[in-house]
């Protein structure tokens, strides 16, 4: 009954004219961002974040959420039509989607992606309502030790899901923590790493770092890559976008499986939508009676990852809203937004800001429905946008990033800092240091440090507080296990090799 009341409250907020406009703008913008290569959801939200400083947080969040799940829809178009993923979460869609387009079935590929995304997304919202509330209720038991252990678990899971060399993931996380410590220490009031520069006393603002590390760095990286593939000229008559009965039979289980995998992967801190789509594709191939069809234009190969990435983009809000822990770079940027608006996400958010939580969740139903129609009726419009040269787009990215960084404190120092972080992000990408751990650690750094200090103050300096409390012990154990994954993998490989040698 409570749930229905909350949903009623949510819909009465989400269905206001203003919020429908924000939702429409978000999903439309997200779809465009997904289509345009070289700019992703975190970048788009980071660039827009400073402009929403004076906006109603609920409306701004509705728009940002729309961008997030809209991007997953939009990226599919480029994956199917030019074999270039608009987003990392649609990489797997290229494998079968592009083949389908070459076989003259681009309409079916785009259609199954839209319908699968909508079905999985809507189911995910229903699950999110239950899970987020349960998670929030559970998190009410958390004290500083649990929060610190939770942050450690999130950092540890990055080494499992982050991709790349584990030591570089750890360094990236540590640099993020270091950036978070710059400025006045909130407990003692002592300046740390400010080197006498007054502008650094307040620390690095998230917006400045994110605009640089995502926005400007992405320009430098994108310029190095040659322009992507050739557009397949497909006709998009409405008739061609409808699925045949056989298509539907083949893809319905894939949508279900993809949705479930996506939902649970999105809930894991650091899981993210890209991992979800990878796992869903691999799982679908494994359960298929004809795995050899995958990569040759199998419709399940489009349905599964597309359903998964959308389900994950929605379930990622559960840890963000209920625990205040972002599961992906995009939700990390949104967490920065929460901080900018002076709202602390976590278990109490459901009680202190029910209008925000339920307005946001309800808007997802509306946004997903809008996207479904957009992806059936407006595909030709987005195909036209796909032809926009990046050389025009990059100028606008610099404009937004510069204005965004400047608007934080109205000084040029932040604009230079933003450029500095842009260069740092570019060099990190070149040297294969992942950016996501740095951003997550930076956003969670202050919470992690404060929790650690509070926990140690309570325990009189004894580290036993982290293992004597069961929830904290479980989180910490999961984190340590995650950090040890590379060692475990290496040991397993050695054992397997020894076994093969003995055979």
């Amino acid at each position: 009954m409570d749930l229905l009341n909350n949903l009623y409250t949510g819909f009465s907020i989400a269905l206001s004219f203003n919020n429908i406009l924000y939702c429409l703008a978000g999903v439309f913008f997200g779809q465009i961002i997904g289509v345009l290569p070289g700019i992703g959801a975190p970048t788009a939200i980071a660039l827009l974040l400073p402009l929403t400083f004076k906006a109603n947080p609920t409306s701004a969040l509705i728009m940002f959420a729309g961008i997030y799940y809209g991007v997953a829809y939009g990226g599919t178009i480029t994956s199917v039509l030019i074999n270039v993923p608009g987003e990392s979460s649609t990489v797997m869609t290229c494998l079968d989607g592009y083949k389908m387009a070459q076989q003259g079935r681009a309409g079916a590929a785009l259609s199954v992606a839209a319908i699968g995304s909508w079905l999985a997304g809507t189911a995910s919202i229903i699950l999110l309502m239950g899970f987020a509330m349960a998670l929030a209720r559970f998190a009410l038991r958390f004290g500083p030790a649990e929060y610190f252990a939770l942050a450690m678990m999130a950092f540890g899971l990055l080494t499992v899901f982050g991709g790349g060399q584990p030591v570089k993931i750890i360094i990236s996380t540590l640099v993020g923590l270091l950036i978070a410590t710059v400025g006045l220490d909130v407990v003692s009031g002592m300046p740390r790493f400010t080197f006498g520069v007054p502008q650094l006393l307040g620390g690095f603002d998230f917006v400045v770092v994110i605009c640089g590390i995502f926005g400007v760095a992405e320009i430098f990286s994108s310029m190095e890559e040659p322009e992507g593939g050739e557009l397949i000229k497909a006709k998009f008559q409405l008739r061609e976008l409808f699925l045949t009965w056989q298509d539907w039979i083949a893809s319905r289980s894939a949508i279900l499986r993809g949705g479930i995998i996506g939902f649970f992967t999105g809930m894991i801190p650091a899981g993210g939508i890209t991992t979800a789509s990878f796992l869903a594709y691999l799982a679908e191939k494994r359960v298929s009676k004809h795995p050899e069809r995958f990569g040759q234009g199998a419709i399940e190969g489009v349905a599964a990852p597309e359903s998964a990435n959308n389900a994950a983009s929605i379930s990622g809000f559960a840890p963000l809203l209920a625990l205040g822990i972002p599961g992906s770079p995009t939700t990390a940027v949104m967490l920065a937004g929460f901080m900018m608006w002076g709202i602390r996400p976590g278990p109490l958010l459901f009680q202190t800001k029910p209008d925000l939580v339920w307005g946001l969740i309800s808007s997802m139903y509306i946004g997903n429905l809008i996207l479904l129609f957009m992806n059936i009726f407006l595909i030709p419009v987005f195909v036209t946008i796909l032809r926009l040269p990046y050389t025009i787009l990059m100028g606008f990215i610099v404009v937004f990033a510069s204005v965004g960084a400047y608007s934080v404190n109205n000084n040029l120092f932040d604009v230079w800092m933003m450029l500095g972080f842009g260069v740092l992000g570019y060099v990190m990408r070149k040297l294969e240091y992942p950016i996501v751990p740095l951003v997550l650690a930076m956003v969670l750094g202050q919470m992690a440090e404060n929790s650690l200090r509070q926990a140690l103050t309570i325990s009189g300096g004894s580290l036993s507080i982290f293992i004597s409390r069961p929830i904290s012990a479980v989180f910490l154990a999961a984190g340590i296990l995650a950090y040890l994954t590379p060692v475990i993998r290496w040991a397993m490989k050695g054992i397997r090799r020894a076994y093969v040698d003995r055979e």
């Binding site: 570089k168 360094i171 640099v175 270091l178 002592m190 430098f220 310029m223 109205n410 040297l431 200090r453």
Partner: protein, 148 residues
């Protein structure tokens, strides 16, 4: 890439040592619990440890990796220099005009678009920045010599 990784490792090592040095000057423990130097010191220790591992790993591992400098890297450098010049000119040109000229210039330099399209985009950008950010969103953007 091997040399780039090695240089990267050395830079991280220097960073780790610098963090250790500066955090050592902060209080590790205070009257009420861990002090402001507590976390930075541990971060410094871990960064240094990881950097040493990374440097050893560079020497241990052989094999081909992607080159650090690609044929198009110079385009990125050109872009960086253009951004720096634009930022330096902000006090003279102001935000709106400076960023508008930047947009037009990069369109011409990187995309070889027609002069007319570049010029038109620059004019539209200047007007959009001035009105959207300056007038609509009340961001007090720095003004240049012509007051924009």
């Amino acid at each position: 890439m091997r040399i780039a990784n090695l240089i990267g490792g050395v830079v991280v090592l220097i960073l780790g040592l610098a963090v250790l040095f500066f955090s050592y000057q902060l209080d590790y423990y205070s009257e009420f619990g861990p002090g402001p130097g507590f976390l930075p010191l541990w971060v410094g220790i871990f960064i240094t440890g990881c950097a040493i591992y990374l440097i050893i790993d560079v020497f241990r591992k052989q094999g081909k990796a992607e080159a650090f400098f690609k044929p198009r890297t110079r385009l990125g450098l050109k872009m960086l220099i253009t951004i720096i010049i634009t930022f330096l000119l902000f006090p003279l040109l102001g935000f709106s005009i400076g960023l508008a000229l930047f947009t037009g210039f990069t369109m011409r330099m990187m995309g070889k678009h027609h002069w007319i399209s570049c010029g038109l985009t620059a004019v539209v950008t200047a007007i959009a920045i001035h009105f959207i950010f300056g007038q609509l969103l009340y961001i007090p953007l720095p003004k240049g010599m012509i007051g924009w």
